[in-house]
């Protein structure tokens, strides 16, 4: 059971402005320890295991670390160096899946477990071109059969899937525009969301912005955008599936966090304050987000909580200092807070910089609900 309030692995830290207490994982397996990207849940259903990103700056790579709440240990698995935000955790078994180079791999949580290769991008797809990425973040199809991939090779971008049992790679769609952030529907095994994203030409370095962020695709190659292209669709970003598979959540950098109902196409701004990376509890009543993250070099970044029932907001961290060197010079560590609800929505996990390094922190949702005048939380 994950209970940082009583665990010696964690140290409390109270925000001086809001009074909210976070619990920072101060037991270390690496100099820097980060929370997962908010789309991928790092905690198993039984809450025994919590995976984390581990880094040894200035080495620009992440490997995976693991908190075992039963044994009270934190360890790193150096053979799990991964690229992008690829790691995905099987919530039942605690197995971790990740990609590096052209390979898709898996490993169990126990020290004696071995890394096993699930699949590999074949030469027919690579064709000698430079491979930049196999996937942004892995997700598993609702029937457990497939893992999504969104590949960047040379000047081509592809979305598709890898069959876990056979390693077979199936490309669903390819484009000259950047396609990233693919995520399988949590309920429909044939359906995947993916996104346009900005990119640089691999030869010239020329920057290309995206115009229409959100797309859906089916295994039968049927494909459609959630919105007709407009001024706003180039400002949408940081999307995730609601757990019931009925809606997509997303931020508009200017207007806040919104929810898009797939059946009706209806979309509604839920949290005007959530304008960078947001996340919601399973019932959609509680939201958390980092705010001002892309202006971090000009002013401190906030991590905030929004209580939809009361309409009140509170800062989990009112003024996070900029990421330490060398995370402040590039995106290699992707050192954003990326708050997300974990452990049955009992906690919000995020990456904090208050100790001058990158650290993983947890904050109890019950505390946030109480401080924003709501009733009992989940």
């Amino acid at each position: 059971m994950l209970h940082p309030e009583s665990s010696p692995l964690f140290t409390p830290w109270t925000d001086p402005v809001s009074g909210v207490t976070s619990y920072i994982l101060t037991t270390r397996c690496a100099p820097w320890q980060q929370a997962f990207y908010f789309t991928n849940n790092p905690v198993t259903t039984d809450e025994r295991y919590m995976w984390l990103y581990a880094a040894y700056p200035p080495s620009p790579y992440h490997a995976l670390g693991l908190v075992d709440t039963l044994e009270g240990t934190v360890r790193v698995y150096p053979e799990t160096a991964f690229e992008a935000e690829s790691p995905w955790v099987d919530p039942k078994t605690g197995e971790i899946f990740w990609t590096v180079g052209r390979d898709i791999l898996r490993r169990g949580p126990r020290p004696e477990d071995k890394a096993v290769r699930i699949g590999r991008l074949p030469d027919e797809i690579l064709q000698g071109r430079v491979l930049q990425r196999v996937v942004t973040h892995l997700t598993r199809s609702a029937d457990g059969r497939l893992l999504n991939i969104d590949i960047t090779i040379g000047d081509r971008f592809m979305v598709g899937a890898v069959e876990i049992e056979t390693g077979k790679v199936d490309i669903w769609f390819q484009s000259e525009k950047c396609l990233r952030h693919g995520q399988f529907s949590p309920t429909d095994p044939t359906l995947m969301m993916f996104c346009e994203d900005w990119w640089r030409d691999v030869k010239t370095g020329q920057h290309h912005p995206y115009r229409n962020r959100l797309w859906m695709i089916r295994e039968n190659r049927e494909m459609w955008p959630l919105f007709a292209q407009s001024e706003r669709t180039g400002r949408h970003s940081h999307e995730w599936w609601a757990p019931d598979g009925k809606s997509i959540w997303c931020v508009d950098y200017d207007l806040g966090t919104f929810q898009y109902d797939l059946a009706t196409g209806k979309h509604e701004i839920i949290w005007p304050g959530g304008t960078c990376h947001s996340h919601a509890s399973a019932d959609g009543q509680h939201l958390a987000g980092d705010i001002g993250t892309y202006q971090w070099n000009q002013k401190p970044c906030r991590v905030a909580y929004f209580n939809r029932q009361t309409g009140k907001e509170i800062d989990i961290a009112a003024a996070l200092p900029p990421p330490p060197f060398p995370a402040n010079i590039g995106h290699y560590y992707h050192a954003h807070p990326h708050p997300q609800f974990v452990a049955g929505d009992r906690y919000v996990a995020y990456t904090t910089t208050v100790n001058g390094v990158l650290d993983l922190a947890l904050v109890p949702l019950a505390d946030l609900v109480r401080l924003t005048g709501g009733g009992a939380s989940r």
Binding site: P58, R129, G154
Partner: protein, 381 residues
């Protein structure tokens, strides 16, 4: 005269002897481990300072396809992984006076330095400036670092998108000075050991980053003088695309290289005289400071399909050759390990007292040493 005070593998519990079953040559394999796989440095860059106290090694934890550095301290008997030193290519260079290591990584576009001590901090020497790569993906900023003869600069060979650049970074300021740019791949630059304004640089094959179309190199070895355009050492050679794996002679008067078909050559800069010194050395070769003893891995690209891969030693005094490893096992899953660059890469270290190389006789990459005096004795009879 060797300056080595600490490295004595025959007496060290950190090494285990291994005897080649055919030649009888004894190597000492580093049994102290910092990672599942340990490799010796690329042959252009020595991993042991002159006093022999430290040995830096390439360390990897497969399937993680990256190297970091490990270091063995022969005074204290400690072996440590240094996980913050992840590097690309064969960039690490050891300061042979101090034991400090320098390395580079294109993702951060930075060059770093760190001492061998457990708590030594990482220092950033400098960063390749934006105007050099202009937002293009950086695939390399250094193949292998080397000091300029005045120890004020480090060579860089940069690959950004489909542009290539060669220059140097000033140690004191981190300033990058571009010496020449190219529309085809150039890499493997090395500063002259005696002329601070001169670098060796090599054409290499590449795949177009967009299409994957393969391009061969046509004329391998160039000299690059500060303020001038790079010039090939052989302007009209038909062998230009068969020569490779070059290094400077210790006195800077010659460039050595291999011809994949004809053997190991020396090229004298002043006269242009070219000599095939060791016909048997056809892949990665290296020589001692005097250029009289040579070592090399042989058949490395042919694997076991045609001939066994060997690590050879050639005594130029007697013309005799002996195998350090007569049948060097090819690492399994060649494609899977290609990112690790698992070749023998033998080289002379500690003022020529030892040859170090990567061994695979235990089914994994290991660092091995062989005493040169033993090899001289065996090739002198």
């Amino acid at each position: 005269m060797t300056r080595n005070r600490y490295l004595h593998p025959e007496d060290s519990p950190l090494f285990s002897p291994w005897t080649d079953p055919r030649s009888g040559v004894v190597s000492y394999i580093l049994s102290a481990r910092v990672a599942p796989w340990q490799q010796s440095f690329y042959f252009t860059n020595q991993p042991v300072p002159f006093d022999g106290r430290y040995m830096w090694v390439y360390a990897s934890c497969p399937p993680t396809p990256f190297h970091t550095l490990g270091v063995v301290d022969f005074k204290t008997g400690e072996a440590r992984l240094v996980p913050e030193t992840a590097f690309k290519e064969a960039s690490p260079m050891v300061d042979l006076e101090t034991g400090e290591v320098y390395w580079a990584h294109p993702h951060t576009r930075e060059v770093y330095r760190r001492g061998p001590g457990k708590d030594d901090p990482v220092q950033v020497i400098g960063q390749v400036p934006w105007e050099t790569f202009g937002g293009r993906p950086l695939h390399r900023i250094s193949t292998h670092l080397s000091f300029s003869a005045d120890r004020k600069w480090l060579n860089l060979d940069i690959e950004a998108g489909d542009t290539w650049h060669a220059g140097a970074m000033e140690l004191a300021t981190g300033k990058y000075e571009n010496w020449d740019s190219f529309d085809r791949r150039f890499n493997h630059s090395l500063f002259s050991p005696v002329d601070p304004d001169l670098q060796l640089i090599a054409q290499d094959w590449w795949n177009d980053v967009k299409t994957g179309v393969h391009h061969r190199y046509v004329n391998r070895i160039y000299l690059l003088r500060r303020g001038e355009k790079a010039q090939p050492i052989y302007p009209n050679s038909e062998r230009g695309n068969r020569i490779s794996h070059e290094w400077w002679g210790a006195d800077g008067s010659k460039v050595w290289y291999v011809d994949y078909d004809l053997g190991t050559f020396s090229y004298e800069l002043a006269s242009g005289a070219t000599e095939c010194v060791w016909p048997g050395g056809t892949c990665h070769s290296q020589c001692d400071g005097a250029g009289l003893l040579l070592t090399g891995d042989i058949n490395t690209y042919k694997g076991q399909k045609e001939k066994p891969v060997r690590i050879g030693f050639f005594n130029r005094h007697t013309g005799k050759e002996i195998d350090v490893v007569s049948d060097w096992p090819v690492p399994p899953m060649r494609a899977a390990v290609s990112g690790y660059h698992v070749h023998g890469h033998p080289q002379f270290i500690c003022d020529g007292e030892f040859i170090t190389y990567s061994s695979t006789v235990y089914g994994r990459p290991d660092v091995a040493l062989v005493r040169v005096a033993d090899l001289v004795k065996l090739t002198s009879a």
